[in-house]
């Protein structure tokens, strides 16, 4: 299953956004040994919401839109996989925002 399909499935299986994001983080760790933090963005503040229990410096950051951001340190995914992951997350979070309105 591709990254985008998996993200789509996790969001379908977990109607609650936090649960879905938590599952995404768990899956990335299990599948790719990729530790991430998913943050809510308020102005300049990125507030940890879910993600790895490991300490991350946030040296790699992606603004996913809709007030969400993704942080990672050591990159285990290829650049193409990151792009796919970020696009899928951005899309799911956007859809979720729309759905919850």
């Amino acid at each position: 299953m591709s990254i985008s399909d998996r993200i789509g499935t996790l969001f379908e299986e977990n109607p609650d956004r936090h649960s879905a994001l938590r599952q995404v983080s768990v899956w990335l760790e299990r599948e790719f040994d990729q530790h991430v933090w998913i943050c809510s963005i308020f102005g300049k503040r990125w507030a940890y919401t879910v993600g790895s229990s490991e300490v991350l410096t946030g040296r790699n950051r992606w603004d996913l839109g809709s007030g969400w951001g993704l942080l990672a340190d050591e990159l285990r995914l290829s650049p193409e996989q990151w792009q796919e992951l970020c696009l899928a997350l951005a899309e799911s979070l956007k859809e979720r925002v729309v759905m919850q309105k």
Binding site: G43, A47, L71
Partner: protein, 510 residues
């Protein structure tokens, strides 16, 4: 239709947002218990004191009894050991850096009547003013042209400076971006912390959403009879518990970096240190994390306030150094802020026993930066005179940022404008865990170098740049030899970030 001052005041306090934190109807300040702890721990031998110091050095928070033991030390030699341990604790958790910020006072309208404060409602000498958004931007422009990146924004308690005004001013200050006087960089505020009166969870949530860093409320005094006599009943500030639980409400609103303080000089300093510790413990009990910073302003003369000059509890320099030391030892992982209320000499002394943050180029009059610092930028020897009638209190340190940074660089310290933590999710329990395990200091060291580099290239005078380069070289040598940084790609990533900064890229952080 806007509320009148009276109507506004009547709707601020939400009793249920006090009661939910009480235990069997009681708050966490038990005066008799504090007094008996101070009384019963007057005679401790050196072994007991040294055991407590060992606990501080292991970066464990002290208990009330242990803190009372330290507060009662009378032996000068033992105090010397405590000062040395304070510095060691600071170096272990925060390394040799000092974080700079500058306050921005937006409004001095106030509904309260605190006997020691120039802002109090009855003070007819005070010239009242509230900054417009354009003025907030002008003030911010001057601050960022000095090189500041971190702002503490301050408001009196009044409907004219309610939470909506606060949010507007914070947005306005964050919007400012100005070319730096030298180099290719730009001046910009990257973190705004807020010092404002206690408010409801709903209002605090608005501050959270606008992207603030830390929310700061000082209890002033933890001693209830003194609090009651200094803050008249019937005023908002007269409600001790509404203030006591302001930070609890902030935590519940999502603001997980909170800052506490006491105004030293209102009551016995040893009691206030115990109060701050009890406050820390109660936050830890409720939320698992303590305060991000603790402040300990000393009362200085204020416009129209005899009390501020004549209190029988005014703290002398020797006692001040002691209280800062005990706070450093009692709460080893929390930042300590010494402000420009203090004169350069004593400020330097307390930085040596563990302070982590300070301000410089500070102006606390409403509109003070625009009026004074612009003149300073045109003429280096502009004679700055404080106008008590637009200030809340009097400053002891009026030097410019560049001069203060140069002095610290000559002491071997690195000045930092790091704001990375709250822009990378490292707040609340995340940063507390890192501080307790002495890891946050490592990240801060890297960000201190990056932001100091920016300052040297964009804002520093030739004299500061000269001494600053030596500090950077020393820091880089330490970083390259530290095993922590050699793990994974951290060192390589950092070196690349430094190269980008040297090449003119700005706001690079880790």
């Amino acid at each position: 239709m806007p509320l009148s001052v009276k109507e506004w005041t009547a709707q601020v306090i939400k009793q249920d947002e006090i009661d939910r934190y009480l235990k069997n109807g009681r708050d966490f300040i038990d005066e008799e218990e504090i007094k008996s702890l101070l009384q019963n721990n007057r005679k401790s031998d050196k072994t007991r004191v040294r055991d407590i110091l060992a606990k501080s050095l292991a970066i464990e928070r002290l208990g009330p009894e242990e803190t009372a033991v330290l507060l009662n030390v009378r032996d000068d030699d033992l105090w010397e050991e405590m000062y040395e341990t304070g510095l060691k604790v600071k170096q272990k958790v925060y390394d040799n850096r000092i974080v700079f910020f500058a306050p921005l006072y937006c409004s001095n309208y106030c509904v309260n009547s605190c006997l020691y404060c120039g802002f109090r409602a009855e003070n007819s000498h005070e010239k009242r003013r509230r900054l417009t958004m354009e003025e907030v931007k002008q003030e911010t422009e001057v601050m960022v042209t000095e090189g500041h990146k971190r702002m503490m924004i301050v408001y009196g308690e009044h409907p004219l400076s309610d939470v909506n005004y606060m949010c507007d001013t914070i947005r306005a200050a964050y919007e400012v971006k100005k070319p730096a006087p030298r180099g290719t960089g730009f001046g910009q505020i990257r973190r705004i912390n807020v010092n404002a009166a206690p408010m409801s969870i709903a209002d605090l949530h608005k501050l959270w959403e606008v992207g603030i860093g830390t929310y700061q409320v000082f209890q002033e005094t933890y001693h209830k009879p003194s609090y009651a006599s200094l803050h008249p009943a019937g005023t908002l500030k007269g409600n001790y518990r509404w203030r006591l639980y302001a930070l609890h409400r902030a935590m519940d609103a999502g603001i997980d970096d909170v800052a506490m303080g006491a105004l030293f000089g209102l009551y016995d300093w040893r009691f206030e240190v115990m109060g701050l510790l009890q406050h820390t413990i109660d936050l830890e009990n409720h939320f698992g994390i303590g305060p991000h910073t603790i402040s300990f302003p000393r009362m200085t003369p204020a416009s129209g306030s005899d009390f501020s000059a004549n209190s029988s509890y005014l703290v002398d320099d020797s006692s001040f150094k002691k209280l800062v030391t005990v706070l450093r030892l009692a709460v080893p992982y929390t930042g300590l802020i010494v402000t420009a209320r203090e004169a350069p000499g004593i400020k330097k002394e307390v930085i040596k026993v563990g302070c982590t943050q300070t301000d410089a180029s500070t102006r606390i009059g409403i509109g003070g930066y625009t009026e004074t610092l612009k003149a300073l930028q045109e003429r280096e020897d502009y004679p700055y005179e404080q106008d008590q009638d637009i200030q809340q209190f009097t400053l002891g340190e009026t030097r410019r940022l560049d001069a203060v940074m140069r002095e610290f660089a000559e002491m071997g310290m690195i000045s930092s404008f790091c704001t990375a933590g709250y822009r990378c999710g490292r707040t609340g329990d995340k940063i507390m865990g890192l501080l307790k395990s002495c890891k946050e200091g490592k990240f801060c060291k890297l960000n201190a170098v990056l932001t100091f580099r920016e300052y040297l290239d964009d804002f520093a005078s030739p004299a500061t740049k000269k001494v600053g380069e030596k500090v950077i070289a020393k820091e880089m040598e330490e970083i390259r030899n530290e095993p922590f940084f050699k793990k994974g790609t951290l060192l390589a990533t950092f070196e690349e970030m430094l190269r980008r900064t040297e090449a003119g890229e700005r706001d690079v952080y880790i």
